[in-house]
């Protein structure tokens, strides 16, 4: 993993912990855990995540890219952001 990629994961993890984790009980979640299955982020939450990704990484998330394969886990988000930045 190069510096940019592992930094992405750390930033996203921090963003989720600060904004979605159901408060006092910080839940440990793995890189490939589904945000949806683990009830970490709900439907409005994914919209907020997208807005934050666009603002933080300067990317534009197309409608067609708003799919679980790109957004539903730390690993997925990391790979997606890396692809967008490399493009």
């Amino acid at each position: 993993m190069n510096g940019i990629q592992s930094d992405t994961k750390a930033q996203v993890r921090a963003f989720i912990n600060e904004n979605f984790i159901m408060g006092a009980k910080t839940v440990a979640f793995g890189d490939t855990d589904s945000f949806m299955d683990q009830h970490l982020i709900d439907s409005t939450g994914f919209l907020e995540l997208v807005t934050w990704l666009e603002e933080t990484f300067g990317i534009r998330v197309e409608d067609a890219e708003m799919v679980p394969e790109n957004l539903d886990s730390l690993a997925a988000v990391e790979a997606y952001v890396a692809r967008k930045l490399a493009a």
């Binding site: 600060e18 009980k25 299955d37 009830h39 709900d42 409005t44 409608d63 799919v67």
Partner: protein, 506 residues
């Protein structure tokens, strides 16, 4: 005629027909019925009896459906609970209903394990994954070879089928008691006016814990059609893909879903030509959205509807009226009578504004163990012994008797089509260190309908950020109840008697 007879009839009549499609997996009527029988046998072997309450705390999926029908088969009363519910509220509902059993999943353990500790009546937890050392209360969901025999209880249609909790102004939810007759009657009426048929394929991305979602399954099983069951509407593109691939014919939604859908570019890439009906309820669709939906799906009929958990559904607008009076929610559905009353309960003529009352077999039995609240909503009807439901909503009728929603009489906020009790949110925020006073109101929002906004005054020396308040609420409340906005103010407006005055806050 009991609620679960439809499933049993179709399992016999057309066993291999798809009842549910979850992801790519098809579950036939025979399979769903067999799964339900296994749940029934298991619950009965654990001592769950006729009339006992069985809570369902699960995401949308085949287990939820098997669970609810399994409970019904042994005469138990199913209580669907939104999987977004957090520990304290879950404990409250389980305790309030004195539930005997909880059907749930491993992914929700963080919320339910603490909750069931607080509720001694829950003697059985049926979970999709079992953790070894939690005592003999927890058992695993029945697998393929599980026993399916159970003894039939003498249930009649006057017995309770379900208790569905609904938020109120008091800060604590109330359990709406629904009999088999209530639910069968409502399902028959709605599926009739919608024209649902055996060949339909219904997309359900609504929570099954919400009666709008639940009835997609109940009604589909009534006519023998297929439900394409989605977890939620988090990824609209995926749902659209599924709708195209599965040739979905019915799409029930709430305004927030339609707003998200209409915001997507490239919708014409999806072949949605099979779609023949779209339904809306829970909140009003704007005229703009109605126009845009009709332009987008010219081959589909759009049904605007209104209802409440206390009687499932009240009105629908016949689609041929949509062009004439787009903001109306129509008239009463089949086998139901509705009218407007004034403050004294006197019936009002067309052209008036008043509270909507409902008379019909779909009207609830009352609120579980809440005689005072029940008496505020159910009052004697025209025939001795019958009760009619006061909706708590103000409507007006035009000269022809068509109904238009005016306002709620209570202060409940509707965000994403979900009820949010300001008192519940305020109670949660009051639990924070440093908070002095709180006032929660709804403010208009293009996508949500209303957004939840909290005005907070702090104690001297206290420091809190908006994010702290929102996170605190997310820990205690369903996500749709957490405020979108938090504004810190020096003081809240007060009435002469010193109570917080919300008018003007926004």
């Amino acid at each position: 005629m009991l609620l679960h007879h439809d499933l049993e009839a179709w399992a016999g009549r057309n066993p291999d027909k798809s009842a549910l499609v979850c992801g790519k997996v098809h579950h036939s009527y025979a399979e769903v019925d067999a799964r339900a029988r296994a749940v029934a046998a298991l619950l009965q072997s654990r001592g769950v009896q006729r009339g006992d309450r069985v809570a369902l705390y699960l995401d949308n999926g085949v287990d939820f459906v098997a669970g609810l029908y399994g409970a019904l088969k042994i005469g138990a009363v199913f209580m669907p609970i939104n999987p977004l519910t957090k520990e304290d509220k879950l404990a409250f509902m389980l305790g309030d209903a004195r539930a005997s059993a909880l059907l749930t999943s491993g992914s929700l353990r963080a919320a339910w394990s603490g909750a069931v500790e607080q509720v001694p009546s829950v003697h059985t937890v049926v979970c999709t994954e079992v953790v070894a050392d939690t005592g003999n209360r927890e058992i695993v969901w029945p697998q393929g070879d599980a026993p399916t025999d159970f003894s039939l209880p003498p249930t009649i249609d006057q017995d309770l089928a379900s208790i569905i909790y609904t938020s109120g102004s008091t800060g604590f939810p109330k359990g709406v008691m629904l009999t088999h007759l209530n639910m069968v009657s409502a399902g028959r009426s709605i599926s009739t006016y919608l024209g649902m048929r055996e060949s339909d394929r219904v997309l359900c991305a609504l929570p099954l814990a919400f009666d709008y979602g639940l009835y997609q399954v109940l009604m589909s099983f009534r006519v023998g059609s297929t439900v394409v069951l989605e977890r939620n509407f988090s990824f609209p593109m995926k749902v659209l893909e599924t709708m195209a691939a599965e040739r979905v014919t019915f799409f029930p939604g709430v305004p927030t879903m339609f707003a998200m859908l209409l915001g997507i570019k490239g919708l014409d890439a999806f072949d949605l030509s099979a779609l023949r009906a779209i339904t809306n309820t829970a909140a009003a669709l704007s005229e703009k959205h109605i126009r845009e939906l009709r332009d987008l799906f010219p081959q589909a009929t759009l049904f605007s509807m209104y209802g409440l958990t206390e009687c499932k559904r009240v009105t629908y607008l016949p689609p041929d009226q949509l062009g004439i009076r787009p903001t109306s929610v129509g008239r009463g559905m089949p086998n139901e009578e509705v009218w407007l009353v004034d403050e004294q309960g006197q019936r009002l003529p067309n052209g008036s504004t008043g509270e909507l009352v409902i008379r019909g077999s779909n009207v609830m039995r009352g609120y579980w163990e809440r005689p005072k609240e029940t008496a505020e909503r159910l009052k004697p009807g025209p025939i001795a012994g019958e009760m009619i439901l006061y909706s708590g909503d103000l409507f007006r009728t035009d000269e022809e008797g068509w109904l238009y929603f005016v306002a709620r009489r209570d202060d409940i906020i509707k965000s994403r089509g979900e009820k949010v009790s300001p008192r519940e949110v305020e109670n949660a925020i009051y639990a924070m260190e440093g908070v002095f006073e709180v006032a929660v109101v709804g403010v208009p929002d293009n996508v949500l309908g209303q957004a939840v906004k909290a005005f907070v005054t702090l104690k001297p020396g206290a420091e809190l950020a908006e994010r702290d308040v929102i996170r605190h609420c997310l820990a205690r409340l369903e996500s749709f109840m957490a405020p979108k906005y938090v504004e810190f103010v020096d003081a809240l407006p007060k009435t002469d008697t010193g109570k917080i005055k919300k008018t003007g806050l926004g």
